[in-house]
Every structure is written in C-alpha cells, then in structure tokens.
C-alpha cells in the first residue's frame, strides 16, 4: 500500500527477546523499535505517532501487556497488538483477543512464525485503514449531498419568482416561498396534493396539466392575472434522461410593472394621436370650407380662417419638435453641451425676439436686470436655456390679455443665476398649477380655448431645468397673473470652484 516500511514496536522485559525479534524483523525490511515495558511502549508509541504493529509480552514490570492493549486502544482504536507469551494458555489468549489483540504467539516461536503473524497483522491493518478511509469518504459524500440539497432548497426559496412542480399525476410536489406568497391559499396545503384542488387558479392548473399530459415535451406560456398583479407563467416538462416526462415545473414572474408601463405607453400614443388629429381635423375642415364654398363667398372671413389654419399648422410643427426633444431626453439621446453662458444675454435676446409679438397683442414687455455687477456665468447648454426662456416668455404673452404686462427679471446670488418671468395674465388655480408640467396638460377655460398650445412646452422646460440641476418655481392665482422663476447653477457652483 505504501512505499514506507512498516513500523513495528517490540515490547519485552527480556533484552534477548527484544533484540532477537528486532533482528528477525529488521532483516525483512521492517523498521523496528523496542521498549522494555508497557509504560515505555506507551510513551514511545505516543512520541513516534503510532506504529503499524505492536508486539508485546504479557508479563512485564510497571505495565503488563493486558493494560498496554487497553491504553493503546485509548490512543488509537485501530492499533494492532500481537501478544507473545511464555505461559500460553487458551484463557490468556482469549482474554487478550477479547481486549483487542489480534493474535498471540506462544513462546518459543520460530522466526517464520513471528513473520507470519506480523504479516497477518499488517494485512489486517491495511484493510482497516482502507475500510476507515472508505467510511470517511462515504460520510463526507453524505454531508456534501445534504449540504447540496439544503443549498438548492435555500436558493429555491430565495427566488423572487414563484416555482411550482407537479408530478406525472398532476399532484403538486414542490412549491417555493415566493409561490406561497403569490398564492397564499395554497401555502398551507400538505404536499403532495392534486393541483386542481390545491390551486384556486384554473388557468394555472390547466397550463401545468397541459405540459404534463402532452405526448411530446412542450413549453407553455401564459399571462395570468392573480389578484391585482399579472404574472408571466412559463411551464416546462421535467424530463428523465430517457426523455420521459416526470412532471412539470412552472415559474411565475411578476410582470405587473411591465404591464402598467405598456398601458401607459399606449395611453401616451393615443394622447399623441389625439393631439395631432384634433388640430389636423380643424385645419382640414378650414381648407375644406374655403375650397368648397359651402359657407358662401366672404373673402375676408376666408382669409382669417386661413391665418388660423396656418397658426394651427405651426403649432403642430412645434408639437412634433417638442415630442422629438422629449423622446430624445427620455431615451438618453439628448446630451447637453454645457459651457460658460451668460443668462442675461440669452434672456435679452429672447425678449427682443418676442417684442413684436407682444406689441401685436398690446402687451407691454419689460426686461429688468437687478444685479449691480454682471451676473456670474452659468454652466449650461445655451440652446437649452434659450428654449427654456422663450417658452416662458411666449407663455407669458399668450396667457396675458390685451393691455397686460410681462416683466422679465434676471438676478443671481453667486450659486445660481435666476430668470423670473412675471405676467399680469389670467393666472391659474393651485389645482391647475399642480398639473402644468404634465405631458399634454393644458388649463382649459374660455380664455385658453383661443390660445394655441401643445401642452408639452412646460414639460420640456421642466426636463431641461432638471438636466441642469436647476429648479423651477411657479406662483400664480386666478386673475392675478403668474410668475415662473428658473434658477440655474453658476459655473463656480457647478464645478465647485
């Protein structure tokens, strides 16, 4: 079994006996040590870390052979002891083997007799070691299996998806913790239990039974509503290596959030369709009216209608470009090109660009710069800031009746630069104010009915301000006008310098 020579300890109080045995055994290639009594043998045994065979006399001073057997087995239960005795009787031999000796040799004995007994002992020892190793291996494997099983179970119960296994007869044989949460009514049912009785979900039952009862392996999937949630259920056959179906495993994944998103998406699409279709329908009707002459010949009225149709068409174009910008922001395809920018300059340009429109509507517009020294530059995308400011100025003019006033103010406090657009217009209620940043929301009343708008302008403004880590505030009351203020971080604040 090993290349190492077997190690033998010879214990005898007679030196002649000890040395005789040593010579016989050493000649055979064994490694031999000796001790003069039981106690010395025990010390030696411990110091050397054990021997393969101990050959011992029975009668010795201090500790005899019988006691040595016991003491050795206390240290190593597999220790092999061969007893030599000059006074061999059946009784002592039986006694010695009862105590654990594997054999005995009566004195006197020939070298061959000794060697035969030693070889027997060594074989026995080798078998014992092998058996022990096998036993240990088996125990280790059992532990591994138990660990493996408990690990699989733990993993199964930690899954967020519900797992359900039925056998060939359609009986539930396994359910994980998530499944018990999803179907509390089934959680207490002792397993195995017929799926049709344990589950109050006919769709789920028929799905797993479909897989179990199929002639060829099939995978079945279905969206099933359970309570307020929607689950994607995938059922697959559990197959033997031979390909035979043993049962089915169903996994229930909560897709409620996805379904909500899907509904929100289709609502959004239908809202967009509505927002596009209404003005187009009006433009179409206007064109139709003028071309058909159905309303008689009134050139001035027709021209007015065409002007309105043109305005509606341009509003539609703004709607489409706002939508594209919003989509770009949502999908992350819109990146700000932030640079040092002067808010005062951007605001002045916007106010200039809208002065004609304000004058047409007889609304006074004023630009006011509060700071005594120039306002700190902001770290912003100038195009985005222009879009923010023009949207606010345009809204202020649109929602302010003739004779009203729009005041635009720029100031700063070192951390933020701020633009405030205040009008003397129609204002809005707190409830309306809560919704003005929602997509497609428009305040509806007899005044706003005449104001073209997309309901996306302020949504876009809000997104752009957020992207700059800025803030937007609104103060408004019905009939008292509105004030929108936008604060954007300065270069020094944004860069921490």
């Amino acid at each position: 079994m090993t290349d190492r020579p077997s190690r033998i300890l010879v214990v005898d109080d007679e030196v002649g006996m000890r040395e005789g045995c040593r010579r016989i055994l050493a000649a055979e290639g064994y490694e031999v040590e000796t001790a003069e009594d039981g106690q010395a043998a025990l010390d030696r045994f411990q110091a050397a870390g054990g021997f393969d065979v101990v050959i011992s006399d029975l009668k010795m001073p201090r500790m005899g052979g019988m006691d040595l057997i016991e003491a050795l087995h206390g240290i190593d239960e597999d220790a092999l002891l061969l007893v030599i005795t000059a006074y061999a009787t059946i009784d002592t031999a039986v006694d010695a083997t009862k105590r654990g000796a594997y054999g005995y040799i009566p004195k006197p004995f020939t070298p061959d007799e000794l060697l035969l007994h030693v070889r027997n002992g060594l074989e026995k020892r080798a078998l014992r070691i092998e058996a022990k190793a096998l036993r240990e291996e088996r125990e280790r494997r059992l532990l591994e299996v138990a660990f493996e099983r408990s690990r699989s179970t733990t993993i199964l119960h930690c899954m967020t998806d519900g797992v359900l296994v039925v056998n060939r007869d359609g009986h539930i044989v396994l359910r994980n913790a998530a499944l018990s949460r999803i179907l509390p009514s089934c959680a207490e049912t002792p397993l195995p239990a017929p799926a049709g009785e344990a589950l109050d979900q006919p769709e789920l039952v028929s799905l797993v039974l479909e897989v179990v009862q199929a002639d060829a392996p099939v995978i079945a999937s279905k969206e099933i509503a359970i309570g307020a949630c929607t689950y994607m259920v995938n059922a697959a056959p559990v197959l033997e290596p031979s390909g035979e179906t043993l049962g089915a495993v169903a996994v229930l994944r909560d897709i409620t959030a996805l379904k909500k998103l899907e509904i929100a998406k289709s609502m959004f699409v239908s809202m967009v369709a509505h927002e596009l279709k209404s003005p187009l329908a009006t433009i179409e009707s206007s064109l139709n009216l003028v071309l058909s002459g159905l309303a008689g010949d009134e050139p001035e009225r027709d021209r007015q209608m065409m002007r309105r149709a043109l305005l509606r068409a341009s509003t539609l174009r703004t709607l489409v470009s706002d939508l594209l910008n919003l989509t770009a922001i949502e999908t992350g395809n819109f990146s700000l090109k932030r640079q040092h920018a002067d808010l005062g300059t951007i605001v002045r340009e916007a106010v200039d660009a809208y002065s004609d429109k304000a004058a047409d509507k007889k609304v006074a517009i004023h630009l006011e710069c509060v700071a005594s020294s120039p306002i700190d530059p902001i770290l912003a995308d100038p195009n985005a800031v222009r879009s923010i400011v023009t949207n606010l100025v345009d809204n202020a003019i649109k929602y302010t009746p003739e004779g009203g006033r729009v005041n635009v103010k720029v100031d700063g406090n070192g951390l933020y630069a701020r633009v405030v657009v205040k009008d003397s217009g129609i204002g809005m209620s707190p409830a309306e104010r809560d919704h003005i940043f929602d997509e497609f929301y428009r305040v509806k009343n007899d005044y706003t009915a005449h104001v073209p708008g997309t309901g996306l302008g302020l949504t876009l403004v809000r997104r752009l301000v957020d992207m700059h880590q800025g803030r937007i505030d609104v103060e408004s009351a019905p009939g008292k006008g509105s004030a929108f203020s936008v604060s954007l971080p300065t270069v020094s604040y944004a860069t921490g310098m």
Partner: protein, 127 residues
C-alpha cells in the same frame, strides 16, 4: 319660413367652431357656441337650441359624456337632439356604442367631419 333653427356647438377648438358656424350660418341656421362642458350646459338652458353638436374630449376625456348625461337629466334640455363628435379612435381604452344608458346621444360622428357631412347630419335631424 318662420324663425331659423338654432344649433349649439360645444367644442374646445375655437377654429373648428368657427368653421362649422360659417357653414351652418350660411344655410340659415342660428348658431350659438360654448367651449367647455359647464358653459355648454348654461348655454343649452338659456338658448334652448333645436340641436346640440358636442365634442367628446374637452378639458377631460369624459367632459362631453358628462355634458350629454347632464343634458339628458334636465327636463329643460332632455328633448334636444344630440350629435356627438370625437377625434378619439379605437385605441382609447373605453368603448363607444350608441348605448341608451351610457351614451345618450342621437348620432355619433368621428372627426374630421367634413363641413358638408355635418351640414347633412344637421339638416337630417332638423327636418
């Protein structure tokens, strides 16, 4: 010939109201209009029109329905025929059917309604 028949147009789209008003006035109808549901109810009671043309979606998705139900619930307006117009198509998650309990209208038209088609509907109802 007697008094001209009176039509109430309720729609938040002022331009569409202007177009339909032009067509109907040209054919001798008297036209009054409102741009919100509540204003429509006030006008319907004050003017007692012979016909009401109503848009479904105004401030809210159901403002037109709400007005239709309010008109049917009121003795003063119950008998006035209603034409409902909408730009809502089938993707919206509620159904339109000429259901006497839910949608108490006499005709249901989908936008865009050509001025000629609207005129025919109005003429047909006010015969």
């Amino acid at each position: 010939m007697g008094d001209p028949k009176k039509v109430l147009l309720v729609d938040d789209d002022v331009d569409l109201v202007a177009v339909n008003r032009a067509v109907l006035e040209n054919r001798g109808y008297a036209v009054v209009s409102a741009h919100t549901g509540p204003a429509g109810l006030v006008k319907a009671k004050a003017e007692t029109p012979d016909l009401i043309v109503l848009d479904v979606m105004m401030g809210t998705n159901s403002e037109g329905f709400d007005l239709a139900r309010a008109l049917r619930a009121d003795d003063a307006t119950r008998q006035i025929p209603l034409i409902m117009v909408t730009s809502v198509n089938t993707t919206v998650p509620f159904k339109f059917a000429p259901d006497a309990t839910y949608l108490p209208v006499d005709r249901f038209l989908e936008k865009p309604v050509a001025p000629e088609a609207l005129l025919q509907e109005v003429q047909g109802m006010l015969k």
